[in-house]
């Protein structure tokens, strides 16, 4: 129960669309902020009983423990395919997937691309922290050149490991993509913008005009071996130049 303070107004409390479970994420991890924003929007739109989320494999595999809505767990990388099925069976429900970069942009690349190419009427939430967090900070397709991970101990080298995959830009050119944006959750201002993006994406889903895709450039303090505060500074300095924040594709005509 939220405490009442005499003479004071309550201006922020945990959304009721989140469970009371203790979040298992590492201290300072952006995953939890993204969870909360999604649930705030679901609560404010009054769609708790009409929203179905699809959880990935990765650190956010337990997303269903925290989001107090109907959820389905998918095999690694297959969240978009599962969400396609759920949406087609229940077209009046709001469907979203929640996936990391290993899940969405490595093992699940095919499902992701083809789901958007079909213009499935779902929201894809993509958390890009540049590593495989859950399994111990291995290199991901999104890892920066020169970035040290457990599988690129001398830093990612382009000649043998390729370039960081800008999958958000890639899928934005597909006609099935309706709204594509890149956001972050490390400052209060960024959090407010990301929440607006979630609101728009759920509103757009009512129009049935294609896939909405929201990338969140995030941190992984444990995988990056930094404190949470350091990781956010490092992210601003190193991730944002390659993954600039802002809208990539916005609907030109809304009806």
């Amino acid at each position: 129960m939220t405490q009442v303070i005499e003479g004071m107004e309550l201006v922020y409390e945990k959304p009721q669309t989140m469970t009371d479970a203790y979040l298992h994420y590492c201290p300072g991890c952006g995953h939890s902020v993204a969870h909360r924003l999604l649930m705030e929007v679901v609560q404010e739109m009054g769609i708790q009983d009409r929203t179905v989320g699809v959880a990935p494999v990765g650190c956010s595999v337990f997303a269903y423990n925290y989001m107090n809505i109907d959820m389905q767990e998918a095999a690694h990388g297959r969240a978009c395919a599962v969400a396609t099925g759920v949406k087609r069976v229940m077209p009046d429900k709001f469907i979203f997937t929640y996936q990391g970069d290993g899940d969405l942009a490595a093992i699940g690349t095919a499902e992701t691309v083809h789901t958007i190419n079909r213009g499935e009427n779902i929201l894809i939430v993509f958390i890009n922290n540049g590593v495989y967090g859950m399994t111990g900070g291995q290199m991901a397709p999104t890892t920066l050149i020169g970035m040290k991970t457990t599988t690129s101990p001398y830093g990612r080298e382009q000649a043998t490991m390729g370039y960081p995959l800008k999958i958000t830009e890639m899928i934005s050119v597909l006609p099935g993509a309706f709204y594509v944006t890149r956001q972050a959750v490390h400052t209060a201002a960024a959090v407010r913008k990301t929440k607006k993006a979630f609101e728009k994406a759920f509103e757009y889903q009512k129009l049935n005009r294609g896939t909405c895709f929201i990338e969140i450039v995030s941190n992984c303090p444990s995988g990056w071996k930094m404190t949470p505060v350091e990781s956010n500074e490092w992210m601003e300095k190193n991730m944002f130049p390659l993954y600039p924040l802002g809208d990539i594709k916005v609907p030109t005509q809304l009806n």
């Binding site: 939220t2 405490q3 303070i5 003479g7 004071m8 107004e9 309550l10 201006v11 922020y12 409390e13 945990k14 989140m18 203790y22 979040l23 994420y25 590492c26 201290p27 300072g28 991890c29 952006g30 995953h31 939890s32 902020v33 909360r36 959750v185 490390h186 400052t187 209060a188 959090v191 407010r192 303090p221 404190t227 949470p228 505060v229 956010n232």
Partner: protein
Amino acid sequence: MIRGTIIVAQDTCKGCELCIVACPQDCIEMSERLNVRGYRYAQLKNDTCTGCVNCALVCPDVAITVYRQPKSTSKKIQPAAAVA
């Protein structure tokens, strides 16, 4: 000046310190004591909180509840503040 305050759920806080960075009033500090999970937790260190909500927005563990003096009561002090 609008007055606000926060309540931190001590045993939910993981001591990440992101709220300290987010607070424009510099009114949050880490505790000396550890909570049940072994983390130092965030706490108010002075009464300059305006209830701006920034700390709660960045808190990954949703450990912060924010309160603010209602506009009607804070208005009484506002004219003087506006002149200054």
